[in-house]
């Protein structure tokens, strides 16, 4: 089965990358995971068998930075849900993965420099592959290893860190050694040089970078440097997809304000202001249903200040602004996804 056919037709226009530079925002809540949607984005970008008449893009290289899941998880999900062989794409130089989880937050000590594929495979049974909407996202115990990593980062000279991160065993697999944003930038740029060889566009997927804010001792400062990093990378990378959490407890401020709530709220709001398309996944408002996994809301914002759309166009040239849409989705046991309008699900 070619990967493109795994993308539901209703979803197809929204997982395609826009023509010009863009930041896309993907938000999810605890009950409704958006990993399946990330996989669909990967499918659309990495799929090389685009037939020209479809109007889809010519595909893109992908750098995936994941702060919540390991490489093994994404590999399995992509194969199961999208029919996509990430391993092959990586060897071909169209895909690179930055692991921002293992060395920072997991207890297992990194064996040597960088986590090799062998250790990943041996640990595979520990990670539960996510099927459909999980009842609860497993929040990992973060603080002690993160603190340890940070202490290590403080003692190590900066140049040493970068070198150790870049020298991962298989090409295209990188592991983040410290939660420092400058280090993240260096690693992403190294990963970018791995994929940026065939002249196609590049898509950077940042999966849950808000974890870096939440685990930081100074959330506000991390927020600032993370936003700065994002825009700096955006000058080099045409498309950036950010996946972040939009749960109420993270966004509504208690009184007195907690720095972490404040930083998380502003991170989401600022990203939403910058982004061209917002895809929000949430649970059904009316409660749990057997045949619906969740609701996907898509809103578009086509222009930016002083950028595209500055020169007015005629009625005919103008892109028809569809406004927002809302669709329901259901994730099957086999990893396949059905996307349908409200009331159009099979009875």
């Amino acid at each position: 089965m070619p990967p493109s056919s795994r993308i539901p037709p209703l979803l197809q226009p929204y997982v395609g990358l826009p023509k010009d530079k863009s930041i896309l925002l993907l938000t999810s809540t605890l009950g409704a995971s958006a990993n399946w949607l990330v996989i669909r984005f990967l499918c659309d970008a990495l799929n090389t068998t685009h037939n020209g008449g479809e109007g889809g893009g010519e595909g893109a290289n992908v750098v995936l930075v994941s702060c919540m899941r390991e490489h093994e998880f994404w590999k399995q999900e992509a194969r199961k849900g999208g029919g996509l062989d990430l391993e092959k794409c990586r060897r071909e130089g169209t895909f690179a993965f930055v692991d921002a989880l293992s060395a920072l937050f997991l207890d297992a000590p990194p064996q040597g420099v960088g986590v090799g594929m062998g250790t990943q495979a041996a640990r595979a049974p520990q990670t539960l592959p996510l099927r459909g909407a999980p009842p609860g996202r497993t929040v990992l115990v973060r603080e002690p290893p993160a603190a340890a990593a940070r202490q290590g980062a403080q003692t190590d000279p900066a140049g040493n860190k970068t070198a150790s991160a870049s020298s991962s065993t298989p090409a295209g697999l990188y592991t983040l050694q410290s939660a420092d944003v400058a280090h993240l930038k260096a690693t992403v740029l190294t990963a970018l040089s791995h994929v940026c060889t065939n002249g196609r566009k590049t898509l950077l997927v940042l999966d849950n970078p808000d974890v870096l804010i939440a685990t930081s001792a100074t959330p506000t400062r991390t927020l600032t440097s993370l936003m700065s990093l994002l825009l700096t990378l955006h000058t080099q990378i045409p498309h950036i997809l950010v996946h972040t959490q939009s749960d109420d407890p993270l966004l509504t401020l208690s009184s007195p304000q907690q720095p972490i709530e404040h930083a998380q709220h502003n991170f989401l709001v600022k990203l939403a202001h910058m982004s061209r398309r917002i895809l929000s996944v949430r649970v059904l408002d009316t409660g749990v249903a057997r045949d619906v996994s969740g609701v996907l809301r898509i809103t578009e914002n086509t222009s930016s200040v002083g950028g595209t759309g500055l020169i007015p166009k005629d009625e005919e040239e103008r892109e028809t602004d569809k406004g927002g849409t809302e669709v329901l989705y259901r994730i099957g046991g086999d990893g396949g996804v059905k996307v349908f309008e409200r009331g159009a699900g099979e009875s």
Binding site: L231, S246, P256, V269
Partner: protein, 433 residues
């Protein structure tokens, strides 16, 4: 008449002085000839008098309150090719100005907005634009930039959120590692080679709270030093953190609102329509987006309405008098602008197209709000109380009991039909009566 020792010659009223014989006797020499200085002075005086006569031929014109003669009643067509001047005929309304008519008021308000939009000098030195996720200010800001470019004004965007810009726009990537002082220095450098500039900050929150730029310093630089226009966007849904050093210090948004000469709040047209419908039904106004209360919703479905943007504007005059009105700005089309000159990015504007919200047909129209109302009028129930056509046809087809009895021909003349039950006791005598 005596003359003190030092006096200024031009201040003397020579006409009066020369008519006094004692004075003439005093100044004339004994032989009766006129001295040279006196004749020079006289020439000078008469030349000056002729000059003043030539410049002001009449004194202040007398206002005609009544026709002087009947000739004035017959009107001559004095049209000589240029603007026809109207002669004052009646008494002018003096003192208190009359209240404006609706059309005059609309024209006045649109003129105010137009001055701000067209970046006219001194119209509004510092415009604060408040937006949120439900309606971003981009449409308004792009219109501002477009009109500034069409008037050949230098546009500088201090960018915290965007990386791609049109080539005619100068931008400063302020999101990087530069500190506040460096940003101010860069702004100064980019403004220095133009007479008039428009400086746009696309997130004032980041400039003030993250980069710690003093608003007064920025205002001084742009407005006072370069006599240019400053416009800043502040996202209302970004939460400001309390000042750790001084809990009583005002938030930066309050400072901005205090300093601004115009405040423009952006709203989605769809949301304004919904709010209007709610007001007419005396219901609380609906909330949208992050405020909606549903977990996981970031942006409202009808956010950033493509029809246009509603701008709630407050203009503050120099006297301190504020004027508030609500405007509607639609997206610009190519037809609104003339073709650009070779070295310009945008041509000049043909006609002003910002209007008051009340003038928008969709807002004033009853049909639109009636549609929204109709949705609210439907009874809230978990049951569907309507009937489908199929259900209607089935209901029509039901044969009611005793239906056959009704189509009997005329009946049998009031005879009582009674079926005896088992408990009934038949009484023959009673029946015979």
């Amino acid at each position: 008449m005596t003359f003190p020792g030092n006096f200024a010659v031009p201040n003397i009223d020579w006409d009066a002085a020369l008519q006094r014989p004692d004075f003439i006797k005093h100044i004339l020499p004994d032989d009766g000839s006129i001295p040279k200085w006196l004749s020079d002075l006289r020439e000078q005086q008469s030349a000056a008098r002729i000059r003043t006569l030539a410049v002001v031929p009449q004194g202040p014109r007398k206002a005609h309150t009544r026709a002087a003669s009947c000739d004035g009643w017959i009107k001559n067509n004095h049209y000589a090719g240029d603007i026809r001047e109207r002669h004052p005929e009646g008494r002018k309304p003096a003192g208190m100005s009359r209240p404006l008519s609706v059309v005059q008021y609309q024209r006045h308000c649109i003129h105010l907005m137009s001055k701000v939009l067209n970046v006219r000098a001194n119209a509004s030195p510092f415009t604060l634009v408040l937006d949120d996720l439900n309606q971003r200010a981009t449409l308004f800001m792009n219109e501002l930039i477009r009109r500034a470019l069409s008037r050949n004004i230098n546009v500088v965007v201090v960018s915290f959120e965007a990386t791609a810009f049109h080539s005619a726009v100068r931008h400063i990537s302020a999101y990087g590692d530069q500190n506040g002082a460096e940003i101010l220095a860069t702004i100064e450098k980019t403004m220095s080679d133009f007479k008039e500039s428009l400086v746009i900050v696309d997130s004032l929150y980041d400039l003030l709270n993250v980069k710690k730029v003093d608003m007064g310093a920025l205002f001084n630089l742009v407005v006072i030093k370069f006599a240019s226009t400053l416009t800043g966007v502040y996202h209302q849904d970004v939460q400001a953190e309390p000042n750790p050093n001084n809990a009583y210090a005002p938030q930066s948004l309050d400072v901005l609102k205090f300093m601004a000469t115009s405040i423009i709040t952006c709203k989605s047209f769809a949301h304004v329509l919904a709010a209007k419908a709610a007001r007419e039904r005396s219901l609380p106004e609906p909330t949208h987006g992050l405020l909606q209360g549903a977990e996981g919703i970031v942006q409202a479905l009808d956010a950033n309405d493509h029809r246009g943007i509603v701008l709630e504007a407050e203009f503050r005059h120099k006297s301190g008098r504020p004027e508030s009105e609500t405007f509607f700005l639609r997206d610009a089309r190519a037809k609104d602008y003339n073709n650009p000159l070779p070295d310009m990015a945008v041509g000049t504007l043909k006609q002003e197209f910002v209007v008051l919200l009340d003038q928008v047909p969709a807002y004033g129209n009853k049909d639109i709000t009636a549609l929204v109302n109709a949705a609210g009028n439907e009874m809230e129930s978990t049951f569907s109380l309507g009937l489908t056509d199929k259900q209607k046809a089935a209901r029509e087809g039901v044969v009611l009991p005793y239906f056959d009895a009704q189509k009997g021909e005329g009946g049998e003349g009031g005879r009582i039909l009674y079926d005896m039950g088992s408990e009934d006791d038949f009484d023959e005598e009673e029946d015979e009566i």
